[in-house]
Structure formats: structure tokens, C-alpha cells
């Protein structure tokens, strides 16, 4: 047992660290980075240096590296408090899906530009009526437009609505999961496409979050034409394609070693600054709260190191990785609440760093898998408990919709 890098890992870390420290001023100012121009340039700089998409195959524009190399980049970025890359969703989810299911032509056109943030990508999965139960989505794609036009199979016509789409307002392309056959069970009637976000009929409306920020959107599709050549995978095989996307997220992001929300050490320093102003009995209570959240963070951090060790040995992260997000979003909320509490008189008014942070955290426990969905995943796939009862098995999508409406 040790916490040391292997010789190769240490050399890689040194290389990454040296580059980031030299160029950090291009990326440290978070306000600047949300300016998409600067953020694209920053990602391109990193790509040209060989630090974006390291786990991607060489022919896809990557360097055929290991998840451990990616994890080291993540750690070093986090150490310098550098913001995430603008095209993180493209790199982590859309690109890998194109790599596995795209045509040679699509790979040629899209992948390298994605890695350099020449194009920004978004993931168009969730819908108003399909969140955790993603396979219940309703956005329709009809071949050749409509049944009267059966002769033209070269394109699809898409109608429907997506929602919670991060960066859709800045995106050039998206991967779009649609329903192409409502007369089969819902997981089987789906098909995935690459959609041009600038195509006629695509309307993006930013959504304001409870924190006041606007990072995600609703996206409307009105008679949007998608060439059949932009299909990813077979017709009706969209669920399997989507699983590639979701699995890639876990892989590409490295996992392990970097936490969620504020760093516990930062909160502890903040608490230390305010502790002296509190009465002794309050101090004791604050220490209990800090101690509990801090232990939870340490527990998650060292559990992350165990996952990292498996990655370092070449194993793939499994469903147990969901535990890190589950406990991380909980302790992040606890730490932020404590950080605001010790502000005293200012705690009940907005405007401060901690108040803003606090308002962004409930959403983190929902995005990318709710607490309840994560518990189901761990319960069923790690502990081997039987699956939830479900009413939509063995019926077609149309039948399950009818059942929802109460019409048998």
C-alpha cells in the first residue's frame, strides 16, 4: 500500500503540472472563462499541448492514454483551482459516443474539432416528461418526414422538446436521442443522431436556475431535418448507444481523488476565521458539524483513492463509483450550509461567495443522477438487491403512455 505515483505517473504529473503552472493565467479567472471565446482558446491551448482527450484513440485525435493519465490531469487542474473545460460534455460523453457508433466520415469531421473546442457539443437526452426514466422520452424522429413520403429515406424529421441541456446556447452540435418507433417497448424504439444546433427549427431558450445562473436550456425541435448520415448506431438501437454515452462519462472523467463542491480545507479555513466571534457553546456545535462533514469528505476522498488505484492497475470504474457522487453532494451541502451559518448577521442575506455557492448545490444532487437513482444503482448492481417493481415492462411505449393517462 502506498499513495505514490509510479515512475511513469510521476513523470506525467510533472509534465502536466509544469504546463498548467506556466499557462494557468490563461484559465484561472472563472469569469473570463465563461466567456466562450477565451474558454475555447484555453481548451485549444491544452489540446495542442496534448492534455485534452488523452484517453481517446490516436485516430480519433486523442493520444491513446490511460484513465490514470486523465485522472492526474483532473487532479492537477483541481489543485490549481482551474475551471472545468468548456467542452467537458463533448469530451466526456458526445465524443466517445461518436467514436464507438459514428461513421468514418463523422469521426473525421467532428472529433478533432471537438477536442480543440472549435465546436462545442451538448447532450440532448432529458425531456420534460423523461428525467430519471430517460427511456420514456417523446421527441419523435420520422424517416422521410411522414408516412406519405415513404420513398425518401435519406433524412429524418424531428419534432419535440429537450430540457436541462447544459451549454445548448453555446453549442454547435449535439447528440440527440429520439423515439423512432412507439409501437415497441420503450427501450427498443429509440435512435440516436448528431444534430446541427444551428439548423433551421432548433430553438434554444436558456433556463434560469435557482441560483440565478443560466448554464442550461430548453431546446425545441420543430420540423428539424437531420440527414440519415448523421445517425449514430442502428435505427432502434438508441438505448444501447445512450448507454455508451453514460458509461463514457464515468470513464473519461477519471473519477476519484477530486471532490464535489467546496474543498473541505477551504471551508475549514473559513470556519476558523469566524469561530472566534461565536460563543463557546456555539463553537462546540460548529465543531461537531464541521467534524461530521469533514469525516464524510475524507471518507469519500480516500474511497476515491481506492478507485484510482484500480484505475491505475488498468481496471474500469464500476457502479460503486456512484457512492462518491451520492455522499459528495450531501457533504458539499452540509459544508456550504455551515460556511454560511458562521457568517452571523450576513448569513440571511445574499451576495456573498458562500451564499451563492449554497444555492448551486441542491441541483448537483439531481444533475447526472438523482440521489434516489444512485441508491438504486448501488443497491441493485453492487449489493445485488432485486430491481424496483416497474409497470412498463413488456408493453409498448404507446401502451405505457396510455396507462399514464389512465386510458386502458
Amino acid at each position: 500500500m502506498d499513495f505514490d505515483d509510479t515512475r511513469e505517473e510521476a513523470a506525467w504529473r510533472a509534465e502536466v503540472r509544469a504546463f498548467l503552472e506556466q499557462h494557468r493565467d490563461d484559465g484561472t479567472d472563472r469569469d473570463t472563462v465563461w466567456d466562450t471565446g477565451t474558454a475555447r482558446t484555453w481548451q485549444a491551448t491544452l489540446y495542442d499541448a496534448g492534455f485534452v482527450g488523452v484517453t481517446w484513440p490516436v485516430e480519433a485525435g486523442g493520444r491513446g492514454g490511460t484513465p490514470m493519465q486523465q485522472a492526474i490531469i483532473d487532479q492537477e487542474m483541481s489543485r490549481l483551482d482551474l475551471p472545468p473545460l468548456i467542452n467537458l460534455i463533448g469530451i466526456g460523453m458526445c465524443g466517445p459516443t461518436v467514436i464507438v457508433h459514428g461513421s468514418a466520415d463523422q469521426k473525421q469531421r467532428y472529433l478533432k474539432r471537438l477536442l480543440r473546442a472549435d465546436d462545442i457539443w451538448c447532450q440532448l437526452f432529458s425531456e420534460p416528461a423523461a428525467g430519471s426514466d430517460l427511456a420514456g422520452l417523446r421527441t419523435r424522429a420520422v424517416r422521410g418526414g411522414d408516412s406519405d413520403n415513404g420513398g425518401d429515406n435519406s433524412h429524418w424529421l424531428v419534432n419535440g422538446q429537450k430540457v436541462w441541456t447544459t451549454r445548448a446556447h453555446q453549442s454547435d452540435y449535439g447528440i440527440l436521442l429520439t423515439r423512432t418507433d412507439p409501437d415497441v417497448p420503450k427501450h427498443r424504439g429509440l435512435t440516436m443522431f448528431v444534430v446541427d444546433m444551428k439548423a433551421p427549427g432548433v430553438t434554444v431558450r436558456p433556463l434560469r436556475q435557482m441560483s440565478g445562473g443560466a448554464d442550461f436550456n430548453e431546446v425545441f425541435f420543430d420540423d428539424v431535418v437531420i440527414p440519415d448520415a448523421e445517425r449514430l448506431g442502428d435505427v432502434g438501437d438508441g438505448w444501447r448507444v445512450a448507454l455508451t454515452t453514460l458509461m463514457s462519462e464515468r470513464l473519461s472523467l477519471g473519477g476519484g481523488g477530486t471532490g464535489i463542491g467546496p474543498r473541505a480545507e477551504t471551508v475549514a479555513r473559513h470556519v476558523a476565521e469566524h469561530l472566534g466571534a461565536l460563543s463557546p457553546d456555539r463553537q462546540a456545535l460548529v465543531r461537531q458539524q464541521l467534524g461530521k462533514a469533514y469525516v464524510a469528505v475524507l471518507g469519500a476522498r480516500y474511497t476515491g483513492y481506492r478507485q484510482l488505484s484500480r484505475i491505475s492497475r488498468g481496471e474500469l470504474p464500476g457502479p460503486e463509483a456512484s457512492a462518491g457522487k451520492l455522499s459528495g453532494t450531501r457533504s458539499a451541502r452540509d459544508l456550504a450550509d455551515l460556511a454560511v451559518r458562521v457568517l452571523g448577521a450576513d448569513a440571511r442575506v445574499a451576495g456573498g461567495f458562500w451564499q451563492e455557492l449554497q444555492a448551486g448545490l441542491p441541483g448537483m444532487a439531481i444533475a447526472g443522477g438523482t440521489d434516489q437513482v444512485l441508491r438504486n444503482i448501488i443497491g441493485e448492481r453492487v449489493l445485488g438487491l432485486p430491481a424496483e417493481p416497474r409497470a412498463d415492462k413488456g408493453v409498448t411505449f404507446k401502451e405505457s403512455l396510455a396507462a399514464e393517462r389512465g386510458t386502458p
Binding site: A264, G291, K292, L385
Partner: protein, 322 residues
Amino acid sequence: MNFDLDQEHRDLADAARDFLSATASPAAARAMLDDGATVRPGRAELVKSGFATITIPEHAGGGGGSVLDLAVVAEQAGRLLAGPSLVTFARAAVLLAGDDRLADLAGGDRSVAVVDHDGPVLDAVGADTFLALRDGALVCGPGTVTAREPIDPTRGLGDVTLGDTEELVPDAAERWLHGERVGRTILAAEGLGAAARVLEIGVAYAKERYAFGRAIGSYQAVKHLLVDAYVEVEQLRSLVWWAAWAADHAPDELPLASAAAKAAAATTLEQAAEAVIQVHGGIGFTWEHDAHLYWRRSKVDRFLLGDDVSAYDEVARLAVTR
């Protein structure tokens, strides 16, 4: 990074489980409550096996192993509710370092208990040699033990009145503290084993018990209770390994790691035992079911080597001064 047990540790765990399970079990713990049976495997067998004396140097007759080695064994001991606690041996090995009595302990000629200031003493029952901190000095001597009515009899708690003591180390505050931290690490390892085992019992039951036509583990209300316990158990495992590694290799990290492990162990075992009782319904709170034996362990262990409140407080104090 290689933050994992290696094959040697896995083999050690298997060997410890084989040895311990020959005599120790929840049934043996219940027999102690029922008719005053003695703790299993018991002091003599534990010493003879070599598992209890792993951290005692070879020249003193011990195994010359690491705290991590002992933690690996302690997890297995916790699963089986074995006794006396390996905490006692771990602390004695620290406190008696360089003293002839250590060889007596390793040879099975002495039965040691470590006397804290805060109430009935762990493994006082059956001990003949008591170590204590008095005015900053480490002292050793005989004592009289008054056994107390046990919640968890495997912990051998008793009030100790020290007899004539001899001063072993005059300025022993640091050594005492180090012994406590190693002890907290091993206590957390025993808590890890107990929590992991009781959780297994709960998960197995949730798969086989049917209600309303389905296995109860398919219902979120039951499933999520068990998952929350699982997440805590795995995080406790990480903290135990970290603390044990720190005890062996990174003394600067041991105060935080051992306090975190102690606090997490107290909370995790209590919550796991409680959850598993609830998952079982009526059978879960019967005398014949094993769940309450783990619950009893949790209700005692949370107070040993400082309670959970003081451990969380220590974590916070260390965090704000880092």
C-alpha cells in the same frame, strides 16, 4: 497510487478468519450473555495464535508486523465479535515498547489492560497487569477489577482500582497519545468488520424475505436504508486503511486519520446495526437473532477511546488549524 490491500494482506485476513471462526461467533457472544460463558477465542488462544501480538517486535516474541497487518486481522475479529479486543494488544505494544513486560505479554505470561480515566476499562476482566497514565508518567501494576453488568460482554468492561504501581516512563504523554491513536485505528477496524458483517446479514435477508409478493429489498424504502449503510461502511474501510497506513508510515497524518476513523466507526456501526434490525422487522429484535449482538457492540464501542462527539471535535480542531 496503490491504496489497496495486497495479496499478503488478503491471505492474512483469510488465515485470521479461519482461526477466529473456530471459536468466536455471535452465538459465543450470546452465550456470554446467557450463562456467563467466557469470551472467545480468549486471551490465551489469541496470543498463542500470534494474531494478537503482530505489532510486538520479533525480539520481544511478537510478529514484528505493521499496524495495517493488525487492522486487517481486527476487521475479521470484528465480524465475529471476537474478544478480547485487539485494541488492548495494540496499545500495550506501544506503551510497553522497550520494556521486558512486552515479552511476557507476547509469551502469554501477562494479561494486560489499559486503564483510561473515563469509566469502566476495556478488557479489564481477566487482566492481571494494568497500564495507566498518572501525572504524565506511564505506570504499571496490579489492580482489582469489579466487572460491570455488560451491554456487550465481549468487551470485558470492569472498574479498575490500581494497586501499587511502578513508574515505567516518566514523561509518557506523547507515547500515551500515540497508543490511543493506534488503539483508535484498531477499534475502527473492529467496527468496520462488525458493520460490514451485520450489513451482509441485512442484505441477505432483504433478498429472501417477501412481502406484498416481492422481495423486500426491491422496495426503495428498504434498499436505500441498506445502501446508505453500505456507502458508510466502504468509506469507513478507506479511513481505517488510511489511519493504519499513517500509523506505519506517516505519523503526521495519524492524529487526523485516527480521529476520523474512530468517529466514522462509531457512527457507521450504530447506523448499520440499527438499519439491519429495522430491515428484519419482528425477528430483528429477538434475542435469538444476531442483529442485537452487533447493536450491543455499537452501543459500547462508541464510548471507547473517547466517544464519537470528542472524535468529531478533534477532527474539527485539527481541520481548522491545518
